[in-house]
């Protein structure tokens, strides 16, 4: 492993291919998310805490939201690692930035999942 690769193991065929697949999924999921959360009013014409909770009680919606969080974090993390790989050449700084990115990714993953599961 050369110095340039230290701290980063992504950047192969899977990373390239799945970045595109997750990108398409995120685009569609974002449209669904925005529509459901902000525009569609299920019964009484407006979106209320009750109507959101009712939706979140459906395990399929919870699974969708968790998949949404996981994919978003993966897509962002993979993209950020590729940018780091291209632009940060100093090994020390690279390790710090990659560590920071991992902490951020884990934070969003845990907080996002806890929110989805905790609300229901």
């Amino acid at each position: 492993m050369s110095d340039r690769d230290r701290g980063i193991r992504s950047g192969g065929a899977f990373s390239w291919f799945f970045q595109r697949i997750s990108g398409v999924f995120l685009l569609l999921a974002l449209l669904v998310h925005f529509w459901v959360l902000h525009f569609s009013a299920p019964d009484h014409g407006e979106i209320t805490f009750g109507s959101v909770m009712e939706r979140l009680n459906n395990p399929l919606w919870r699974a969708f939201d968790i998949l949404f969080v996981v994919t978003a974090v993966y897509h962002a993390m993979n993209g950020a690692l590729l940018i780091v790989q291209d632009y940060i050449r100093a090994t020390g700084l690279r390790m710090i930035v990659v560590a920071g990115l991992w902490i951020g990714a884990l934070y969003f993953l845990i907080v996002g999942s806890m929110t989805i599961l905790g609300l229901a």
């Binding site: 065929a13 990373s15 050449r89």
Partner: protein, 234 residues
């Protein structure tokens, strides 16, 4: 028309050798190329100037350099249509400068060799040649026109940041054999292509296509190659 050529100079034999610019004035005439001007300077003004040249016909790829910020062939670039009073000449970016405008081309050819740029086919040859239809040839006729001048690879930001990246020229050469119906060497080439310093380092920036003096669709070829590798793997 009088044109000033601001040329990057570097002499490794000088103590504390440093890159600097030196200006020369050349009287140009219609049809005169940047290479003609360089010859004029070397032959009549300053014999210490170094640059590569050979065929002066856009075939050998020796005289590629950065001309006013864009990579290209000195022998194919005419001066007067540029309508500039000053033309800045630099060596190709990202390669070690040997002297003035001449760079060390070894890394470029090492990357090229890595993709095995030759026909791989273990099957016994037929009585006559291995035939291709005109349509099959058309798919590879573009990359066959590549003259390996290094303009694309040295214009690629991914290559600037990663000297281990094999670069657009090598990838385009790989495309030329991967899409050749007579070639059976996909597996052997995969090792050089399918890694983070290979195909996946290309971020479709298109600098290579801007720089290519032969106007080849390099990024297009690399994208088709990506799809082919993905289709074979997944």
């Amino acid at each position: 028309m009088q044109v000033t050529f601001k040329i990057s100079r570097f002499d490794p034999q000088q103590e504390e050798a440093k890159q600097h610019y030196k200006s020369y004035t050349v009287q140009t005439s219609p049809g005169m190329t940047v290479l003609d001007a360089l010859n004029e300077i070397k032959w009549h003004q300053d014999g210490t100037l170094s640059y590569r040249k050979s065929c002066r016909s856009g075939i050998c790829g020796s005289c590629a350099m950065k001309i006013n910020g864009i990579n290209g062939l000195a022998c194919e670039t005419q001066i007067e249509p540029m309508k500039k009073k000053t033309i800045v000449l630099d060596p190709l970016p990202s390669f070690e400068v040997i002297k003035d405008l001449a760079v060390n081309m070894d890394p470029f050819f090492e990357h090229l060799a890595a993709v095995k740029p030759y026909l791989i086919n273990e099957e016994p040859p037929p009585d006559r040649e291995r035939l291709q239809s005109p349509e099959e040839f058309k798919r590879i006729s573009d990359p066959i026109a590549c003259i390996l001048c290094m303009s694309c690879t040295s214009s690629c930001p991914s290559f600037w940041t990663d000297p281990e990246y094999i670069g657009p020229a090598a990838l385009y050469k790989a495309y030329r054999y991967e899409f050749d119906t007579r070639d059976k060497g996909s597996e052997e080439r995969l090792e050089a292509l399918d890694n983070r310093h290979g195909l996946w380092r290309c971020h479709t920036i298109f600098n290579c296509m801007d720089a290519c003096p032969k106007n080849l669709k390099i990024t297009h070829g690399i994208s088709l190659l990506k799809r082919k590798v993905i289709a074979e793997k997944y």
